[in-house]
């Protein structure tokens, strides 16, 4: 097991480096560089800048260095000093801006993951055990609908419905009186009343996918001889299903962290923009529109790392649960 863990963690590093290269590439993509933006800002406010001064600043910031040197400076700043660069739209270091937002993104994503599990497990088992029943077709239909409706459209529709018929606006994570307030039970409760909409919106497509997978896996298991044996020796139907087939069919639930998490983080990004949640999404789009590239690049890098860590956790859990995986 230890060998597997070490191998798995080592394998993560090339992927991580690849992600950081992509993030750096996106930072470099817009025409002009950091200094061009600063100069444009100074020119806007009516200051004139001496050409010699510009040349000196280029030297200081290392903007004439080859790409690889610039990449090294950027990534080593992050790794050694936690310095993600400077956001010139906000006039503050990026690291001051991102952590709250990333925390909220992580929170909503994890809540959505829990929702996905909690909903798809009973429905998946029901659909597999009562195949072709009315309930099965009902859930299958809703599953297809859930897969087909893009997150942001679902968010818009829910917002519209609650605005139109319940007369409340559902944006944000907190009611106005709780924004910036210290944590208390009231605040947690208030957050929960706001949280369910983004969680449902983001979780729906993952739930639908997981129900389909669980139904297919469990159907395969249920027709195997050991299930017949269990029935034949007189086990109650409940135990026949829950003891072995469900446990085996559960593997995709663990591995779901790996492939649902990127979807969830993606989904949270766009849903948060529609619902105006204080997660990374709205800030990322704002940064991209104003080409505040260090901020945007840091978000993209951190979201990538977040899913990567999720995948690592899911692989390790899977190996811990299923010896077939760690020994091959």
């Amino acid at each position: 097991m230890l060998g597997y863990v070490i191998k798995r963690i080592l394998l993560m590093f090339p992927t991580m480096i690849g992600m950081s290269i992509i993030a750096f590439f996106i930072i470099q993509l817009p025409p002009g560089d950091y200094l061009t933006s600063v100069l444009a800002m100074m020119a806007d406010s009516g200051q004139t800048v001496d050409p010699a001064e510009i040349a000196r600043m280029r030297q200081v910031y290392g903007l004439d260095d080859p790409m690889i040197v610039q990449y090294w400076k950027w990534i080593s700043g992050i790794l050694l000093r936690g310095d993600f660069g400077y956001s010139f739209e906000w006039g503050r270091p990026v690291s001051e801006l991102i952590w709250d937002r990333m925390g909220a993104t992580l929170g909503v994503s994890v809540a959505a993951l829990v929702f996905v599990w909690a909903v798809s497990l009973p429905i998946g088992i029901y659909s597999a055990v009562r195949r072709h029943s009315f309930g099965d077709h009902f859930f299958t239909f809703f599953g297809f609908l859930g897969l087909a409706i893009p997150n942001f459209i679902l968010a818009l529709v829910l917002m519209f419905v609650s605005y139109k018929y319940f007369g409340q606006s559902v944006g944000g994570l907190f009611s106005p009186e709780y924004i910036g307030a210290p944590w208390s039970w009231g605040r947690v409760g208030d957050m929960l009343t706001h949280l369910w909409i983004p969680v449902v919106v983001v979780g729906t497509s993952g739930t639908a996918a997981l129900i389909r997978i669980l139904r297919a896996n469990l159907t395969d298991e249920l027709s195997k001889p050991y299930v017949i044996t269990a029935r034949a020796k007189g086990l109650p139907e409940y135990q026949v299903i829950m003891r072995y087939p469900v446990r085996i069919a559960l593997n995709p639930f663990i591995s779901a962290i790996g492939w649902v998490l990127p979807q969830l983080v993606s989904g949270v990004t766009i849903t948060a923009i529609v619902l105006n949640l204080p997660t990374a999404g709205p800030l990322l789009v704002r940064a991209l529109v104003s080409q505040d590239m260090y901020l945007a690049g840091s978000f993209i890098l951190l979201m990538g790392i977040l899913t990567l860590v999720g995948m690592l956790i899911s692989d390790l859990l899977l190996a811990a649960l299923d010896p077939r995986i760690r020994f091959t």
């Binding site: 798995r8 394998l11 992927t15 690849g18 992600m19 992509i22 996106i26 993509l29 817009p30 072709h132 077709h137 299958t140 297809f144 609908l145 897969l147 087909a148 409706i149 893009p150 942001f152 459209i153 818009l156 529709v157 519209f160 605005y163 139109k164 606006s169 389909r212 997978i213 139904r215 297919a216 896996n217 159907t219 995709p252 591995s255 779901a256 492939w259 990127p262 979807q263 983080v265 993606s266 989904g267 990004t269 766009i270 923009i273 529609v274 990322l284 789009v285 991209l288 529109v289 080409q291 945007a296 978000f299 993209i300 979201m303 990538g304 899913t307 995948m311 899911s314 692989d315 899977l318």
Partner: protein, 405 residues
């Protein structure tokens, strides 16, 4: 390493009636593409594509979905003719005007009903408090409409100048907004039809380019193996681990604002396909490896076929149906991606009309509350398209291997 996807369930909703069909006397193999009344000797000599076709058309849901998809492409192809107006024609007199219902008979003063297809006109009222103008449909005012009417002139496909429209008001100065208008008084139906062209074609072009990227990279990695295979696999892994939407946003935001709409259109297509090729490449590669051990491939190799002949004459043809199914399932992802990007204001931008650009108008919840049609119709179009492609793709995947039980 995170190949956690179990093989997708191929059969779920497609054949729900199988279990309940009364059992007929068993003849021949349990699963046969034969329909009752078919001539068995004909099936015995049918080619692979014929068998696939037979299996496909038995799936009614998939066939219906296929018809919907074809209908949408038909609309996209003849958008100028089918739309009653031009997408950029603003009617400042009718901003946020509600949809006008169609009726076919009018009753005159004497009470006699006569045949006259028409839509109802509008009356305007001004809210004295907010000074906002609002329009209501006036059941007494009648705007006659007809088929093949003359209206705004356009060039069909940029080639044939004409002013015929499939339907529209007989008097072009009269309003006809079957789905309502937006904040500039532009007809939503017209814009939706023009948007169909952009949105549907982005899916098609995007999937073709990602298929090319996927097949080329997959072939390279399969042919050379070694470090090429390793780095392509790493690349796929990195890209599929990235959350898609932030990455799309990052790439799309770098498009210079000075670019022409056409180049933006192509670059967006490229961005969308750049990140979707990974699943295609993975699927093709996986199928390739599983087919490599089949008997007919071994036979071909033993017959002395060259590697190229084995790949292109033997393996690829038996992959084509699978690739088609995968490609069909990839198109809706691209349509949604474009819609999402445009909705956020980073993808396609106005003068260009796509479903995402239309949904941009629905960003403000207050606007939607006064003009719900701005959300309902474009969102409905996206959802129906995605559903249709999914059902069609599922049906194609089920039919892709006609010998499978």
């Amino acid at each position: 390493m995170t190949d956690a996807f179990p093989p997708q369930p191929a059969a779920h909703m497609s054949r729900p009636t199988m279990a309940s069909t009364p059992s007929a006397p068993e003849t021949g193999p349990a699963i046969s593409p034969l329909r009752p009344g078919d001539d068995p000797s004909k099936i015995a000599v049918a080619g692979q594509w014929e068998l696939i076709w037979h299996k496909f058309i038995r799936n009614k849901v998939a066939v219906a979905a296929g018809c919907v998809v074809l209908l949408f492409y038909f609309i996209a192809l003849f958008a100028e003719f089918l739309a009653p107006g031009l997408p950029s024609t603003a009617q400042p007199r009718f901003t946020y005007a509600p949809p006008q219902p169609i009726a076919f008979f009018v009753t005159d003063d004497t009470g006699a009903r006569s045949w006259l297809p028409h839509v109802k006109g509008y009356t305007m009222s001004v809210d004295p408090a907010s000074l906002r103008r609002s329009f209501v449909v006036d059941p007494d005012s009648v705007v006659p409409v007809g088929l093949f009417v003359r209206g705004a002139s356009y060039d069909l496909w940029g080639l044939f100048p004409t002013d015929r429209h499939l339907f529209g008001p007989l008097d072009p100065t009269q309003p006809m907004n079957l789905l309502g208008t937006d904040r500039l008084g532009r007809d939503l139906l017209t814009r939706l039809i023009y948007g169909t062209r952009i949105s549907m074609s982005i899916g098609l072009i995007g999937v073709v380019s990602s298929l090319i990227i996927g097949v080329v990279l997959g072939a390279l990695s399969g042919y050379y193996g070694g470090w090429v295979d390793l780095s392509v696999q790493r690349l796929i892994e990195v890209i599929s681990a990235m959350p898609m939407i932030p990455l799309w946003l990052g790439l799309a935001a770098a498009i210079p604002v000075t670019w022409s709409p056409l180049s933006v259109y192509f670059i967006i297509t490229l961005i969308v396909s750049l990140l979707a090729w990974t699943s295609l490449a993975r699927e093709v590669r996986g199928r390739f490896f599983s087919l490599r051990d089949e008997d007919f491939v071994t036979a071909a190799i033993l017959d002395g076929s060259s590697q190229r002949r084995v790949i292109f004459r033997h393996i690829l043809p038996s992959l084509t149906s699978h690739i088609l199914a995968v490609v069909t399932l990839a198109i809706p992802t691209m349509i949604v991606a474009e819609t999402a990007l445009s909705f956020l204001g980073i993808g396609l931008k106005a003068p260009v009309v796509s479903w995402g650009v239309l949904l941009q108008d629905a960003q403000n919840i207050r606007t939607v509350a006064t003009a719900p049609w701005l959300l309902v119709w474009p969102a409905g179009a996206v959802v129906v398209t995605v559903l249709a492609f999914n059902f069609l793709g599922d049906g194609m995947r089920d039919a892709a291997d006609p010998y499978e039980t």
